[in-house]
């Protein structure tokens, strides 16, 4: 397993001009990203929808590279999205999965069958043309540039160290620096 913050620091070097939906990595990405108007930190509008939202954006803007940092809990709530993505095969879509094997924001309870699921295997069997699995950052760092230059959709399953939160929600550090409306306004302006 490796730290989400370290992975995102490494990814930033290869980000280019991609639209990034940072998902649960937003708390780190906000401080790492250099192009905030092309970041879409949504928080959690409704569980299970990040992958389909990012896919919809990729479909709408085939001229833009769209990179999603998904979570296994979110994906498990909406597994059927893998079939839809594999069916439409957006060439500009890069689906990174941060698998920390737990519901970290609710105290670290394990997701079902947490240590035994191959999400890259699921994506591959659903029809993604390219899938990867990494449990160490060094290998991913060596492949990142190539991954982002491949035609999508690409699925990258990463084992990430959990950052468990046990504080009541009202007492947690707020990482958002913009409201949802501002995030959407900024990205729409950036897209023209």
């Amino acid at each position: 397993m490796f730290a989400a913050a370290d992975m995102l620091e490494m990814f930033q070097r290869y980000r280019g001009n991609a639209l990034v939906i940072p998902g649960r990595g937003s708390r780190h990405w906000n401080g790492i990203s250099k192009i905030h108007e092309r970041d879409i930190p949504l928080g959690d509008p409704a569980m299970g929808g990040h992958a389909s939202f990012a896919f919809g954006l990729a479909e709408a803007r085939p001229d833009e590279k769209v990179v999603l940092f998904d979570s296994e809990g979110d994906l498990l709530m909406n597994l059927g999205v893998l079939a839809t993505i594999a069916d439409l095969k957006p060439k500009n879509f890069y689906h990174f999965l941060m698998d920390n094997e737990s519901y970290a924001t609710t105290g670290g309870q394990p997701v079902p069958n947490a240590t035994n699921i191959s999400y890259s295997g699921m994506a591959r069997e659903a029809g993604y043309p390219s899938t990867y699995f990494y449990d160490n950052l060094e290998d991913l760092a060596g492949d990142m540039e190539g991954i982002l230059n491949e035609p999508g959709p690409v699925f990258v399953h990463m084992k990430i160290a959990p950052e468990i939160e046990n504080l009541p929600i009202a007492m947690r550090v707020r990482w958002q620096t913009r409201t949802l409306d501002e995030v959407l306004r900024d990205v729409k302006a950036a897209l023209g």
Binding site: P45, S52, G56, L57, E59, A60, N78, G80, V81
Partner: protein
């Protein structure tokens, strides 16, 4: 004043929003006879009435096209399956099949942020399943979006079993504060355009309930 009965050909001016349902009627008009004048009349229905035939898929597709729809995010149901062949044949429409209806809402939200104009096409059962998705990806993101909802079990507010999905459909929309329009035949189809306009003006989802289960579906 003169009452007119049969024998006079009238230009009948029907008030806006009213549909001429009668095939024949006795018309009572009290007016100065003037063949060249258009006069408003009240039509007294004395004969049998018949609702016009159902909703044609071509009509709905035209509404989509007239409103600039680019994508149809959908899961087939018994009310809207008749559109499928027309939609797949249209090169200007991209169909996005989903596995569960909640996925349709978040997908549509992404399409909207990217500048496209999707319509969601699902059944009322799936609409209820996607409740939190409608709340989060539709309402909290201020997504202008028309939800075309197959109104399974629609009996025109007639008799339903206690657990029929039709009994829950409109209360569900009331709970979410989502306005909706009912369409049952071609004459109602213009409400689809109303829904699109309203969704864009208010930046929120608007539903169109399709209350025509079998008319013209089997092709």
């Amino acid at each position: 004043m003169k009452s007119l009965r049969r024998g006079i050909l009238l230009d009948i001016e029907v008030g806006e929003g009213h549909t001429l349902l009668c095939y024949w009627a006795v018309v009572n008009v009290e007016s100065t006879l003037d063949r060249n004048r258009r006069i408003p009349v009240s039509i007294e229905r004395t004969g049998m009435t018949q609702q016009q035939a159902g909703l044609n898929p071509e009509t709905v597709l035209k509404e989509f096209k007239d409103n600039g729809v680019t994508h149809v995010v959908w899961l087939p149901d018994s009310e809207t399956n008749w559109l499928y062949q027309l939609m797949t044949a249209d090169p200007e429409l991209t169909l996005i099949p989903v596995s569960r209806e909640g996925q349709a809402i978040s997908t549509a939200a992404g399409l909207v942020v990217g500048g496209k104009k999707p319509v969601v096409l699902i059944q009322n059962t799936g609409m209820m399943e996607s409740g939190d998705s409608i709340r989060g990806w539709g309402l909290s993101l201020n997504t202008p979006l028309v939800l075309m909802i197959g109104y399974r079990g629609w009996t025109r507010h007639g008799v339903n079993r206690p657990y029929d999905v039709a009994k829950f459909t409109e209360p569900f929309l009331h709970t979410l504060g989502i306005n909706y329009y009912l369409i049952e035949n071609d004459d109602d189809a213009s409400r689809i355009s109303v829904a699109f306009k309203e969704s864009e003006e208010n930046m929120r989802p608007v539903a169109v309930l399709v209350g025509d289960e079998f008319h013209g579906f089997i092709r």
